[in-house]
Symmetry: C2
Subunit: 199 residues, 2 copies
DNA sequence: TCTTGTTACTTTACAAGTAAAATATCTGCT
DNA sequence: AGCAGATATTTTACTTGTAAAGTAACAAGA
């Protein structure tokens, strides 16, 4: 984002900047609840009328949504004494269905190796994961869920999904589909191209 | 997100879950770059066929996009020796155009008061902000940008916006407009209703 | 005027992540 | 065999955020 769209500051007016007005849910009845980003972008435009604040409308909102969603969704996890990164780690083991090495967990989980090391230590102290050394290559470890770990994940997952469904219930079916598709396209591009941009 | 959509783990298939298929840019020529979330959701569905993984497609992607965007966009800021939260704070002062109290900065910036206190300390040591006590109420302080602070923000902002534009260039104009509108609607709902849900 | 409650901000103790260095082990070549 | 360079993971030192307590100052009623 431009200036202020971290989890912290926000940006941009309603739907101006980018391109076309909303396709589907732009100006339906009770919809247009003005979001914080709209206000922030308005302020920026008043101060710097020349700048194209379009990107703020997307990036600012993504960041702000991510922050709010995370805060909200941490609740069910905390009830079970897990942080999200911890749950992500356990979830990676659960959904792949097999053992993973710390390195694979780091990649799967988009976090650093050092962070994974720390989490594994805690999770294994809690009896949720177990590790075993590779017999061929003694540098590598293999991590697997214990029964308790698997049960914990399986118990939380439906609750989380139900909670998420409730959180998204403000959008109707078609809107959710559109949003998912657009985000998927953006994400695909970001994942494919960001390395290049960064260089 | 459900299980794994923090900045860490991801989720869900392409566009299935939610509702309608993509409105505009669903299956155009070279588009459908498969994103990580799609893979993750596929894995979850294989393990738990009964669960509705729809929310993952949105929430997982928002989180992942936020993580990638943040990493990418930190670059221009770091060049100037700022973290994003620091820039957000300076930006809040710049875009409002007047002094703010620490408390207002915390609200404007969506961060805790303690965090603002720390940042202000560092930023004023660097000569980017100044503080003065309120004469009426000696509990409150007023923070303002120094000239150096203002120049720094004004110098970075265009670079950031240009960078963001480049990052979003994978989407065409109408898609960007749609995405901004949908995110705006979601965010409006989240900001208005999350407190209620949390309760 | 005391004193109770609130507000504004800061401090402290602590949890968690990161980058860079450290360890240990493997691979391929000579 | 022996060594140079890669890999896999952990360790260390440090940064930053948070929650909770602490400090200071205001407001309003008894």
């Amino acid at each position: 984002m431009t200036a202020t769209e971290g989890p912290a500051a926000a940006e941009g007016p309603a739907a101006a900047g980018g391109g076309a007005p909303a396709t589907a849910g732009g100006d339906t009845p009770g919809r247009s609840r003005d979001d914080t980003v709209a206000t922030v972008v308005r302020q920026w435009r008043a101060v710097h009328p020349g700048l194209d604040t379009g990107p703020m409308e997307i990036i600012g909102r993504i960041n702000r949504c991510a922050a709010l969603l995370q805060q909200a969704e941490d609740a069910p996890l905390r009830r079970e004494g897990l942080t999200r990164p911890e749950f992500d780690l356990l979830g990676a083991l659960r959904r792949t269905g097999h053992e993973l090495t710390p390195g694979e967990l780091a990649r799967e989980t988009f976090s650093s190796g050092a962070a994974v090391t720390k989490r594994l230590k805690q999770l294994s102290e809690r009896g949720l994961v177990e590790r075993r050394g590779d017999t061929r290559d003694r540098r590598v470890a293999h991590v697997r869920l214990t029964d308790a770990g698997r049960d914990l994940v399986d118990g939380i997952l439906p609750v989380q999904l139900a909670y998420e469904t409730a959180v998204l219930s403000g959008l109707d079916g078609p809107e959710r589909g559109e949003l998912a598709a657009l985000l998927g396209e953006l994400l695909g591009q970001l994942e494919g191209r960001l390395g290049a941009l960064r260089a």
